[in-house]
Every structure is written in structure tokens, then in C-alpha cells.
């Protein structure tokens, strides 16, 4: 079984500290390229910026499997300069404005520090305090004399990676965990398959990069590797929590249904049988909304059997998420073992 050690932790640190808001994924692309140069048979950046990597196996009857992990992260875009250093902004990807006031951020490719500001408590009336702060009352403030900060710049949270014993706290675990796993799978690619790795762009804006990546790669089957929310708190009134989505510590989350995809039952079976055989813990993500790159991949061309596996993480799409190192390791191993055991039999009906 593969292990998460210092090398892997350092890579995830580098990946989560890097900034790659949807549509400007260059910094992650560069890191990934450096990691896999020399391993891959083919590396290509496509028209939208997806990094498509091929690692061919040996022998006959090799299935061509596409694994997708998105490089982009949620963030902001400056849309109007109101005065020196003060900008109105829009969100890029799904962000709850209630999470924003007072957060430190980094603006533009130069990573100019800034803050998301709102009215201080002194100037907020008692009855306003209980209500939410809409986006239009928030501003990005980078201070005076920053001519390089311009309308159209992207920004994201300034959170730094932190290891907390068994856990990790960082921004953009969605989906740098997936990116880290996919790099590791390329480095340990089994010979029985052709591994088609797609490090995709613009997932957070509607699975856009994966759509063209799948069209170009035309695989036999595909998996999206992502991170999905865990909302696994005990209920305040002592009742059973029945809407947790996933639970930390319970291993990789296999998807059955989300807002965009009904996972192929053959793929669900393949993954769970691998987990059972190899004694790797896994959980089924609660069927519900949301979506992964699988949503656009499975509808590509004349159809592609597709599923998704996610590392559970708390506080997704906020300034910082929290995940367990063991869940990451189990996710990597479930995927690795599943690939080792992938044959045309998996797709038999």
C-alpha cells in the first residue's frame, strides 16, 4: 500500500498554498508539470488550459481510463474600482457571502495582500447584527498605492497550509487533494492500463474543462477525483445526524448520485469490491446535489462510464478546510488498488 509521507505532505502544502482561481490555473499547472515530467509518455496543455498527461501501460487489452482532478479553486474577481485600493468584487464558484467578512486574501498573480472588509460592529445597529451581509456590502481592500491591482484580477483566501497532527488545515483542499492523488497515481501507474490523467480547469464554474478533456481523450471509462464536504457534527439536540454528506475518518467517499451524475453501477461495484478485498475503508457519499467533473465527462461523445471518488473534507468552499491524512491515504490506495485490478471484466453488463 502507498503511504502519505513527508514528500506527499510537502507537495500538498505547495499545491494548497499556490493560487489558481478558475480560469487562471497556471501556477498549479506548472507545479504538476514539474512533478510528472520524465514519468509521462505525453504531456499536453490544451486550448482551455487542461493539462493532459498520458502514461501508457504494457500488454494486451489495456483499458484506457481517464482520471480527472481539477486544478482550479473558488475565489473572487475584482469588478469595479471605487477608490484607491477599494474594489467591489464578484465570487468565482460557489461561495457563501456569510463566510467572507474579515478574511485575509491575496490579489492577482503578484499576490498582493488584502482584506475583505465590511462595517465594524460599532456602526452596525443591534437588529442588523443578526442578518447576513450581502456581497454588495463587502469590499476588497488592498491599501493605498497598489497600481498593479486592477479590475479583472482574481483573488483568493490567504490561508497557509497547516498540519494539525492527524489532520490538515488549508485552503483549496477542494481539489488539491485530488491533484496530489492524481500525481501520485501517475508516479505509481500500474502497467495493465493506459492512464489518461486530466488536470482540469474551471470545474468550479460548471465542469467546463473536463468536458473538452473527455472529448479529446475519449477514454473507455473515467473517474473524477475530488474532495466533498463532511458535515459530520453531532446534532445539537442529541438526535441522529442524518445529513452529513460524508464523515471524516470513514475513508474515501464513493459517489452514487449527485446533481449531475448517476455513477455507473459497474464502477460503484468495482470500487467497493476493491475496498472490501483490500480492506481499505470507504463510505458512500449521501446521494444529493453538487457535482464533479464526472458530470460532464459521462455525457461526452457517445457516452463514457464514469464514477467519482472524493476525500471527505470539512468546511469546503470557505477560507479553510480540514481533512484527515488517513482519508487522503485511503483514497489514494483505493484508487491505486482499483486500477491494479482493472480489466474489461469491470465493464461487463
Amino acid at each position: 500500500m502507498l503511504k502519505i509521507r513527508k514528500t506527499q505532505l510537502n507537495l500538498l502544502e505547495k499545491l494548497t498554498n499556490a493560487v489558481a482561481v478558475s480560469g487562471d490555473e497556471g501556477e498549479i499547472r506548472k507545479i504538476v508539470r514539474a512533478e510528472i515530467e520524465g514519468i509521462a509518455d505525453e504531456i499536453k496543455t490544451d486550448a482551455m488550459g487542461n493539462l493532459l498527461v498520458t502514461k501508457r501501460g504494457k500488454g494486451k487489452n489495456r483499458l484506457r481510463i481517464m482520471l480527472a482532478a481539477h486544478m482550479d479553486e473558488i475565489g473572487f474577481m475584482l469588478v469595479n474600482k471605487e477608490s484607491d485600493g477599494i474594489f467591489q468584487f464578484e465570487t468565482i464558484g460557489g461561495i457563501d457571502p456569510r463566510q467572507l467578512a474579515g478574511k485575509p486574501i491575496l490579489v492577482g498573480r503578484e499576490k498582493v495582500p488584502g482584506v475583505i472588509g465590511s462595517a465594524p460592529i460599532h456602526l452596525v445597529s443591534a437588529d442588523e447584527r443578526g442578518s447576513k451581509i450581502p456581497l454588495k456590502s463587502l469590499r476588497i481592500d488592498v491599501g493605498l498605492g497598489k497600481p498593479k491591482v486592477k479590475v479583472g484580477d482574481r483573488a483568493t483566501f490567504a490561508t497557509k497550509f497547516l498540519r494539525m497532527g492527524d489532520s490538515i488545515r488549508a485552503k483549496a483542499l477542494d481539489d488539491r487533494l485530488g491533484v496530489a492523488i492524481l500525481i501520485e497515481l501517475l508516479k505509481n501507474a500500474p502497467a495493465n492500463i493506459d492512464l489518461l490523467a486530466a488536470f482540469t480547469v474551471q470545474e468550479e464554474l460548471g465542469l467546463r474543462g473536463a468536458k473538452i478533456a473527455a472529448h479529446a481523450l475519449a477514454p473507455d471509462l473515467a473517474l473524477a477525483i475530488d474532495s466533498t464536504p463532511a458535515y459530520d457534527f453531532p446534532m445539537h439536540d442529541g438526535s441522529e445526524n442524518i445529513r452529513y454528506n460524508t464523515k471524516l475518518g470513514a475513508g474515501p467517499a464513493i459517489y452514487t448520485l449527485d446533481g449531475r451524475t448517476l455513477s455507473d453501477p459497474r464502477i460503484i461495484r468495482w470500487l467497493s469490491e476493491t475496498g472490501d478485498e483490500k480492506k481499505i475503508p470507504y463510505q458512500y457519499r449521501q446521494p444529493g446535489g453538487g457535482g464533479t467533473d464526472a458530470g460532464s465527462i459521462h455525457l461526452s461523445l457517445a457516452g463514457i462510464p464514469t464514477g467519482s471518488v472524493s476525500v471527505p473534507g470539512r468546511y469546503a468552499h470557505t477560507a479553510m478546510g480540514l481533512c484527515r491524512i488517513k482519508d487522503w491515504e485511503h483514497s489514494l490506495n483505493l484508487l491505486h488498488e482499483a486500477l491494479l485490478n482493472l480489466s474489461p471484466k469491470v465493464l461487463a453488463r
Binding site: E240, T256, L257, L301, G303, I304, R349
Partner: protein, 328 residues
């Protein structure tokens, strides 16, 4: 056709889990098609004729259902809907899981059923008392259990949407002795969750003309002021719905065919809904489409009602349409 309709509607195949219905259909059509294949997503594609215009006929073989999202500490299974399930039709319903388990839907002490599914307040009771002895787990899928009912002129069943379209395609394939076209009878998957099977099968078939066969809501019932679609007045030609505009040339061809053969039809303009035509029209460089519908009362309830005459007329019309050359 009634035994066929009974067999089709009493099979359980919610979206994404169409294995059972696909096997039933293959058995029914294998002696009549020139070629049969199953694509990557599970669409069943049967060809008859070759060399002429490629006409794709799509009827979806999936049905609405539910998927378990949690088995609680007392063995009750909470669930999400699979496709457009109306919560008010659920209380007291019986469900049958793909793995064979049966259960009933409970929500007995709760009011305001419309909000129940959203809030995860309804549950399936399979008789289990804990997650350990539950015969189902997260991700298991069920359809609604309701036997086929023959009322003579009117037929009632679960999943008339769209097994009646499936029945029409099967019967048309059997009736069609020869055709100048290359006709693809496509039994699509995952229509109820967003016309997904039609998206990929249309890409694979790459047709010249696309016709979706589906049910459409008949509003000839009490408490509706303006009635527009009636049972017993023939199949409908859809000019528009929320997903596609019927190609005027294709509609005209159907009107001509109907008139010539003295088959009743209804002109339909819908503000809501969508069919496989929505996906077919946008494939490759574009495809002229129309939806040919069988009027159906109580769509997306466990008791959907159609008129047997409408069903037979739809088969007759479609067969006549496919026998003749068409020019757009």
C-alpha cells in the same frame, strides 16, 4: 399490446439502473431488428433498414424512483428522489428495490407533505430495526410498486412514462415491414434526470431526423379551467416545450401522414417539461426534431393513465410515417 404494456410497466428500472427493462425489451425485439447494440451508458439501440435517411426514434426506458441516502439507527431508510417525484404521491406508497427488497414509505405523523422530501422527513420502512439488519444501504435504488390495471379503454400503471413510448417503439418495429430509411429505435437511459442517455446515444447515432416518443400531461380532468390535451383524441405533435421547438417541417410531415391515414392527432404547445428531443436537436451540427406524445393523466404519480386507442393510433401513425420517403 396489453400484455406487452403490462410486462413493461411491471418491470422496475429507475434512472441509471435500466438493466432489467433492457433485458425485457431485447427479448421482445431481437427477432425484428437488423442490428442491436448497447452503448457505454446503457442505451439500447436497434436498427432496421439501411442506407436511407437516419431517423432516430427515442423512448426512454428509465422511470422515476428513489435512492437511499441514510439508514438511521432504527433501520428506517431516508431517501432522495431520482427524477421528478411529487412528494404528495409518496405517503403510503410501496417501493421495490433493484435488489428485490420491498418497503413502504412512511411519514404518518407529519403534515405538509410537499416539504417532506426536501427535509429528509419521509422514510422507507423495510421492516429493518437497525442499519445492521437493513436489507438496503446508502445508494440503493427503488421504483414505485403498483400493478398494471386494465380499465378496458383506459390503462393505468406506474411508469407509463415512458414504458408506453417503449411499447409504441416495440410494436412499430414489429409492424414495420419495410422502410426506405435507416431507422434507429433507441431505448434511452436516464431521461428523468436530465435527458442524459439521449445526449450520448444521439451523438453515437448522428441522425438526420430525431423523434422523441414520450407521454404528455393530459389536463382533461376536474379543477382545470382551460383544458388543452385530452385522452382519446389521438397522439400529440409538440410545437414547443421548455427544452425544444418542434421542427415545422417535421411537424408538417406528421400532420400530412395523420390526415392521409385518417388518424386523429392533437397540436400541443407546452410551457414546461422537456423530452429526449431536447438532447437530440443539439448533437453534432444539429438535428431537426419533434416529440410525438401519448396523452397521459397523472404523470409522475404511481398511477398514470393512458387511452388504449391513443396508443394504437400512435403505432399506426409512426409506422405509416416510416414507410414513406421524406424530404425536409
Amino acid at each position: 399490446m396489453k400484455p406487452l404494456i403490462k410486462k413493461l410497466t411491471e418491470t422496475f428500472s429507475p434512472s441509471g439502473y435500466e438493466n432489467a427493462i433492457r433485458e425485457v425489451i431485447i427479448e421482445e425485439i431481437k427477432d425484428f431488428a437488423d442490428e442491436i447494440r448497447v452503448d457505454a451508458l446503457g442505451n439500447l439501440i436497434a436498427r432496421k433498414g439501411s442506407g436511407g435517411k437516419k431517423i432516430m426514434l427515442a423512448a426512454h426506458m428509465d422511470e422515476i424512483g428513489i435512492m437511499v441516502n441514510h439508514v438511521d439507527e432504527n433501520g428506517f431508510a431516508r431517501f432522495s428522489s431520482l427524477g421528478g417525484v411529487f412528494p404528495q404521491t409518496l405517503v403510503g406508497s410501496r417501493v421495490k428495490f433493484v435488489n428485490g427488497t420491498s418497503g413502504v414509505i412512511g411519514a404518518h405523523f407529519l403534515k405538509r407533505p410537499v416539504r417532506l422530501v426536501m427535509n429528509n422527513k419521509m422514510y422507507v420502512d423495510t421492516g429493518a430495526t437497525s442499519p445492521k439488519n437493513s436489507p438496503i444501504q446508502v445508494g440503493d435504488v427503488a421504483g414505485f410498486e403498483r400493478p398494471f390495471l386494465d380499465l378496458g379503454k383506459r390503462l393505468v400503471a406506474k411508469s407509463m412514462d415512458d414504458r408506453i413510448g417503449v411499447a409504441v417503439l416495440i410494436e412499430t418495429l414489429r409492424e414495420l415491414k419495410s422502410t426506405p430509411h435507416e431507422v434507429y429505435f433507441v431505448f434511452t437511459v436516464q431521461e428523468e434526470v436530465g435527458v442524459r442517455g439521449a445526449t450520448t446515444s444521439a451523438y453515437g447515432v448522428n441522425p438526420d431526423i430525431g423523434i422523441a416518443l414520450d407521454v404528455t400531461g393530459a389536463d382533461d380532468v376536474p379543477e382545470i379551467d382551460t383544458k388543452t390535451i385530452f385522452l382519446g383524441k389521438g397522439p400529440t405533435f409538440k410545437f414547443k416545450d421548455a427544452g425544444s421547438l418542434g421542427d415545422p417541417r417535421v411537424i408538417e410531415l406528421f400532420i400530412k401522414t395523420a390526415r392521409k391515414n385518417k388518424i386523429p392527432y392533437q397540436r400541443e404547445v407546452a410551457t414546461m417539461g422537456g423530452t429526449d428531443a431536447r438532447a437530440i436537436q443539439l448533437t453534432h451540427a444539429g438535428v431537426p426534431v419533434m416529440t410525438l406524445s401519448v396523452p397521459c393523466r397523472y404523470v409522475h404519480s404511481p398511477s398514470e393513465m393512458v387511452d388504449y386507442g391513443d396508443v394504437q393510433n400512435t403505432v399506426k401513425l409512426l409506422t405509416k410515417f416510416l414507410e414513406k420517403k421524406v424530404e425536409l
